[in-house]
């Protein structure tokens, strides 16, 4: 074997060795970590999906139980005038608490994500967030809305909004994401005028310009809102 051949083989061996190290390092530090990240992430996603399924089942059961209770109350009310009077009071109170499906004239507001922009604010500013929904709901109530639903979820006297970037939590329902549809029953001329007012909803207006966030609305002759289907338990408050 010539000196040139030996040098050539040594060079190939050296390169193979280096590649071997790179490969080992790659497997140890780069390939395993992302795999674990993906597995953990997928486990979290599965957990969320399972909880959302349970949540939907629970809300279906609650709606079913409320329907059965109403039938039993109605049956009892047919037998007694006192019971009928009490039932009328409760029906009215339930309507104001969002526990009765209602319909009437109103508006439909839709909020949609815009496009990501540069900089830290651009990473989330284009997403519809819970404060946007809260602001629109407050604006509609300030304009006399009598009943509101968000993506078919009825707002109650105890409704609250929370969430993280692009995820909107309303009471005990699963998170909502764009597009978010807010239906309200009330004076539609008053509500549409308020929504068209460029000085209202300043944060949304600014992000419409900056990130192309969408706010659209229409007056509707007859909007139907479902009854609230989640928990309205109060365990700490009692009449004084």
């Amino acid at each position: 074997m010539s000196t040139r051949s030996i040098t050539g083989v040594a060079l190939v061996a050296l390169v193979a060795l280096a590649i071997g190290f790179v490969l080992a390092d790659q497997v140890r530090t780069q390939l395993l970590t992302p795999s674990n990240q993906v597995a953990r992430y997928q486990a979290l996603v599965r957990n969320v999906q399972d909880l959302e399924t349970t949540n939907a089942d629970d809300r279906r059961q609650i709606a079913d139980l409320r329907s059965q209770i109403e039938s039993l109350e109605s049956e009892a009310a047919r037998r007694s005038a006192t019971t009928q009077s009490l039932r009328n009071q409760v029906t009215d109170l339930r309507a104001h608490a969002g526990l009765v499906a209602v319909h009437g004239p109103g508006v439909e507001v839709v909020l949609r994500n815009g496009l990501p922009g540069p900089g830290p604010t651009g990473q989330a500013g284009y997403l519809v967030n819970f404060q946007d929904v809260q602001d629109v709901v407050n604006l509609l109530f300030a304009q006399g809305a009598e009943a509101i639903a968000i993506n078919g979820r009825r707002v109650t006297p105890l409704t609250s909004f929370s969430g993280t970037e692009g995820q909107i939590l309303v009471d005990q329902g699963p998170p909502l994401t764009s597009p978010v549809k807010i239906d309200a029953i009330g004076d539609r001329n008053r509500m549409t005028a308020a929504l068209a007012d460029q000085s209202a909803l300043p944060d949304i207006r600014a992000r419409e310009v900056q990130f192309g966030l969408h706010l659209t609305f229409d007056g509707i002759a007859d909007v139907s809102l479902p009854a609230y289907d989640s928990s309205l338990q109060v365990t700490h408050v009692s009449p004084a």
Binding site: L51, D58, L93, Q134, S160, L169, S230, V237
Partner: protein, 218 residues
């Protein structure tokens, strides 16, 4: 010569393999993380657990109501309806209420309706079951608006200091009140903020029932 060529091909193959796996692994991570980061997912899981616990409690309470109604005992339906009316009047804000909770006092200049809306929302999200601000009862639907230079609750101006009383789980309310106080202390418009936990808080303000004009039961 032929052996060397095979070695070079093998090395090239390994390099290509490493490169491909690396790029695909990164792409997989990035694709799966689009939208929600793991921390946000963890918060969502926590929120959903709490939500599902509340839904379980509601199911149990409704099942008890149904059983009582099904019992057919004399006066059972009247009792269920009377209890329900009492509970709903408290939720709708039509009667004075009491219970444990927190009282927050905020002295500030220039706070807006949005600040008060956020404060009320934070307390409600922390389980507040009844809220009063400067003797005005607040539930979702009571307008909190900007009027002139001040904040109005259902058309009535409320001036600083704002005294916010919230009845609910005192531990959860105290935690959120503490976080709110920390944030408010960093706000230059706020002169002073304090909160205290109260074992039996009384809220006497009430709302007047307004009949629906537009909404009709389906």
């Amino acid at each position: 010569m032929r052996g060397r060529a095979v070695s070079v091909w093998l090395i090239a193959l390994v390099v290509a393999l490493v490169g491909t796996i690396q790029v695909r692994s990164q792409a997989e991570v990035e694709r799966s993380l689009v939208g929600v980061d793991p921390t946000s997912l963890a918060f969502l899981i926590d929120d959903l657990h709490r939500a599902n616990d509340s839904l379980d409690a509601e199911k149990a309470a409704l099942a008890r109501q149904r059983s009582t109604l099904q019992s057919g005992q004399a006066g059972a339906a009247d009792q269920v309806l009377a209890d329900e009316a009492e509970r709903l009047r408290a939720i709708d804000g039509y009667v004075p209420v009491q219970g444990p909770g927190v009282v927050m006092v905020i002295e500030a200049t220039g706070l807006t309706a949005l600040d008060l809306q956020d404060a009320v929302n934070n307390l409600t999200a922390a389980g507040a079951e009844a809220i009063d601000v400067n003797d005005h009862r607040i539930v979702m639907g009571v307008p909190i608006t900007q009027q002139g230079g001040g904040v109005a609750i259902d058309g009535n101006t409320v001036v600083s200091p704002w005294t916010i009383s919230a009845v609910g789980d005192p531990n959860r309310l105290a935690r959120i009140a503490d976080l709110m106080a920390q944030q408010l202390r960093a706000d230059r418009r706020v002169r002073a903020v304090s909160y205290r936990v109260v074992t039996d808080l009384l809220i006497t303000s009430v709302l007047t029932e307004k009949p629906f004009v537009y909404a009709v039961p389906s």
